[in-house]
Amino acid sequence: MSDSPVSSVKLAPAQTPPVSAGRQVTAGPHISGALSGKRIMLLVIAALAPAAVWSIVCLGVPAVIVYVSCIVSAVGTEFVWNAAYRRPQTIGDFSALLTGILLAMCMPPMTPWWICAVAGVVAIGLAKMVFGGLGFNLFNPALVGRAVALLSWLGVMGELKPYAGGWLGVVPDVAASGKFDAISGATRLAVAAADRAAAGAYGFDLSAQYNALLFRNVAGSLGEVSAALLIAGGLFLIVMRIVDWRIPLGYIGTVAALAWVWGSDPVFNVLAGGVVLGAFFMATDYVTSPITKKGRLVFGIGCGLFNIVTRFFGPMPETTTFAILFMNGLAPVIDRMFLPKPFGWTRPAKGAKAHA
């Protein structure tokens, strides 16, 4: 080698700034992992896609209207907000798209388009952008949008009808025949609650509902059409290490265990309503859930506890939205309880006055 000529060094053409002497000078590390935030969002959307497509197949045009109005209003709100404040456009990170899809999946198929649009504006505008956009919101945007729509238009969204005298009259028929549809608003969960309140007078067989809940349930929100497809999507995200198994396991495990404790059918209580969608796709939202492993398990258990207690003892059977929103508020506190001990130390971090 000692006789090899020392050739002159050829410099690469100048690249994007910052450059010095024709090349990049930037702080390390100089390599980075392949997983980008955008890719994470796309994987979550891919995991939701089978259930979403199936809901459109089962419910048709009304479902399309809900999806389109939720997505357009959510993404549009973020676009307009950024434009109005002259900020870099962020709709390309696909988080608003994901929020729109999730929002649609927690809407009943007969929801008017304008309620969906309001919910989308609230979700992105009020729950996300006012806090500073992606990463800074305390509450899950889609669930805030749904909560506002639900509480503003209770009658339209259907939740309180059995108690407001609406379709309560059809409960005996529906319970006996099992003919659920998307129009009456009589969800299996609501019928089960009415049956439970009437001490089993309607003879509603919970275990007979598994098949419908897993594969084709048109009485409920768009995200309740197929629990099986949602579970498959959720497991995909866990296998891909996009979501931490602790939150869904804590959530679903608690719902099943407490349903059993209170004498109801655990499987029915997991599959009916928004528990599956909430546990795999809503409660696992990075921004609004704890970052510590133990904290995530506690967070999941808390969601399940709140959900099942209010389902059995509250005024409405479907409380997934409020369970997760409540725990969202506690997430920073939970994180502070489980600060880790750094390698070599015997006491944890001294805690944060303000959450980081």
């Binding site: 080698m1 002159s8 002497a21 090349r23 390599i31 980075s32 992992g33 970052i291 015997t346």
Partner: protein, 433 residues
Amino acid sequence: MAGGVFRGGIHPPDRKEGSAGSPIQRAPIPERLIVPMSQHLGAPCTPLVAKGDRVERGQVIGDVDAMISAPVHAPAAGEVVSVGLALTPSGTRCVCVTIATDPGQSGDTFVAIRPTDAGTASAARAAGLVGLGGAAFPAAVKLVPAKSTPVDTVILNGCECEPYLTCDHRVMLERPERVIAGALLIAEAVGATRVVVAVEDNKPDAIEALRAVARSVEVLAVATRYPQGAEKQLIFSVTGRVVPGGKLPATTGCLVHNVQTAAALADAVESGMPLIERVVTVSGAVARPGNFLVAIGTPVSVLIGLAGGLRDDAVRVIAGGPMTAQPLGDLEVPIVKGTSGIIALTAAEAAPIVDTDQPCIRCGRCVDACPMVLHPYAIANYADRRNWDGCERFYALDCIECGCCSYVCPTNRPLLQLIRTGKGALLTKGVRR
């Protein structure tokens, strides 16, 4: 008595195939050597030569009377053409002695260190030996253990866990008896009973070569995972001992040296060879990646030329492994004692340059990856807001700057850079752990 695997860490693509199979080649001595007076942690040396002086290969040209320092020797015979400030790979300027070398040197003769028989530690000092893994801590300091912390285990670090780098691998493969001799010298100097060479299990040939000449030295295969070669993580992997927070690794009774350092120590003790050359990996987007035995002070551009020059798609050149290296803005800076590699990265390989402030989405990947079990996102957020108390409460000073957090961050937040800012501010304030 292996300890197991440390928590966290990452598995970056190792990209060592370009240079791993390339035997060490002796690089010719270039026309001009730029020898910095500060190539180590600790006090810079004072130049002992002036412009116009003749120097012989191995002659001491800089020294200082400070405990934490290491003298500097002339890497080749020649004439001093200047003594003054020049740019170093760290991006700072320091006093450098520039030598116009005599043409046609063989590179076989050198001025041996004196004295040669005053013990291992003083030989390491006289040879200007520093840690060759990258940190460049003066080796002699570590060879005199404090009375309060006796050393029972010597660990030679042959992990080379950074992508691209293969210089330690080649030294273990081609000079295993030097590595083992160095290990035994260190063990003898500090009175250790257990001597371990820890090598990541992705280098079975190096493990085999070392075992063939190991004598009483244990050659241990450790898991391939970055940062396996970080001192605290390696001590845990080899012995199961945990360095207490805020304490030096020596408190565990373990002493860690790099394998190349050990080989250089053996050379210094047995033949009086000062540290005037080292093996450097040149890899990535260069025409002919390889491992070169290079005179200290050789300009980076000359070394890249030996590797066939940069490819057209090289956008970034760095000195060291890509997780911890300094970027080079100027390729006329010299190779120093701590330079383990010169890596050219393509746009596809290099971490993206992020122009705007990217949000933390609280995904927790940095928390999972941190081998020190810190909350990098929290420290970085506090540092971003100049909240140094927050940084301290989250143990910013325990950060070993391995870069795992930045590597895994899906939004490419400059986590390590922010944490360094926080650490710097805390150290300036005088905060100790």
